[in-house]
């Protein structure tokens, strides 16, 4: 039982560790151009 508890705790630690040390960030750029030529932007 102790070994199982130890393994479970280890898994939780690994999971938490992965969440706290992400290796990627995502930047999202929303963009527009030529709103003049698009359908009435105020409509």
């Amino acid at each position: 039982m102790n070994i199982l508890r130890y393994l479970a705790a280890l898994l939780v630690m690994i999971n938490v560790g992965m969440c706290q040390n992400p290796d990627k960030a995502v930047l999202k750029i929303g963009y527009t151009n030529d709103l003049l030529a698009s359908m009435d932007p105020c409509g």
Partner: protein
């Protein structure tokens, strides 16, 4: 715009850093109602938290005094790195912007801040200044050497460089070839010539193709050292079933009331 605002809100919730920009070509032209419409469009864009709006040569037809009043009303939003006062040669708008973006979910990101440089440039194509009663006469300088100057000034100070360009695709290509530090280029005017960049193409060049029908996004994945590791372009259809953003919708109603008043006053 009210549906676009909702689509943007729904599709950016999972990103760590968010930026909204316009490459130019937003102005409705000269005249009271056109200026009212352009003014409200800008109000809506600011409500949606656009960080930078580039001035294209076509936008100058709204009248430089009107654009200057918008610049004063919304400081640090309108950008142009090559529209100058013909007499003083001073830049009329901010040539560039340096933005420090805060991470939305900081515990899921390797860093909580990202520094972005945004440069605005326009071509001189088809530009003719409307010589009205403007106190400022604008002139457009060659964007190619200026692009290099602004890029050299900013590239070491930021993590990513974004170019907003309004004009010929050929001019943009020349700029990109001479400025390899540019990471993303968004263009207007000859938007139909901007081919979809492939995943490993640098810099990523893009433009909205089906005007008004889609909300377009560039998604960039960055590693621990803020280097680009993935890039993708997505577009989301703005369907009639999309919920209207109440703040944008209320601005639209305000605009419609003011436009009606203008027409009524004219007919009296």
């Amino acid at each position: 715009m009210a549906r676009r605002a909702t689509v943007i809100e729904q599709n950016t919730a999972e990103s760590n850093f968010l930026l909204l920009v316009d490459a130019g070509g937003f102005s409705r032209g000269m005249g009271e109602i056109s200026n009212l419409k352009t003014g409200y469009l800008l109000k809506m864009m600011l409500e949606m938290e656009y960080a930078a709006i580039n001035i294209g040569y076509r936008d100058l037809t709204a009248g430089i005094d009107f654009l200057d009043s918008l610049r004063q009303s919304y400081p640090n939003t309108l950008v142009s790195g090559n529209i100058v006062n013909a007499q003083t040669r001073d830049y009329i708008f901010d040539p560039y912007k340096i933005l420090t973006l805060d991470a939305v979910n900081s515990h899921h990101v390797p860093y909580d801040k990202l520094k972005i440089g945004i440069i605005g440039l326009t071509d001189t194509l088809n530009y003719s200044h409307h010589r009205t009663h403007s106190s400022i006469i604008p002139d457009i300088e060659d964007p190619v050497p200026l692009a290099k100057a602004w890029v050299n000034k900013l590239s070491r100070r930021v993590d990513l460089l974004v170019l907003l360009f309004y004009g010929k695709y050929q001019t943009l290509t020349t700029i990109i070839e001479s400025c390899p530090q540019i990471n993303v280029a968004i263009m207007g005017a000859e938007y139909y010539r901007a081919k979809k960049s492939s995943a490993d193409e640098m810099p990523l060049v893009t433009a909205t193709q089906a005007l008004g029908k889609y909300a377009d996004f560039v998604e960039i994945g960055l590693d621990n050292n803020r280097n680009i590791i993935t890039q993708d372009i997505t577009k989301i259809a703005i369907r009639d079933s999309v919920k209207l953003n109440p703040k944008i919708e209320s601005l639209k109603e305000e605009y419609q009331t003011k436009a009606r008043e203008l027409v009524d006053n004219r007919n009296r």
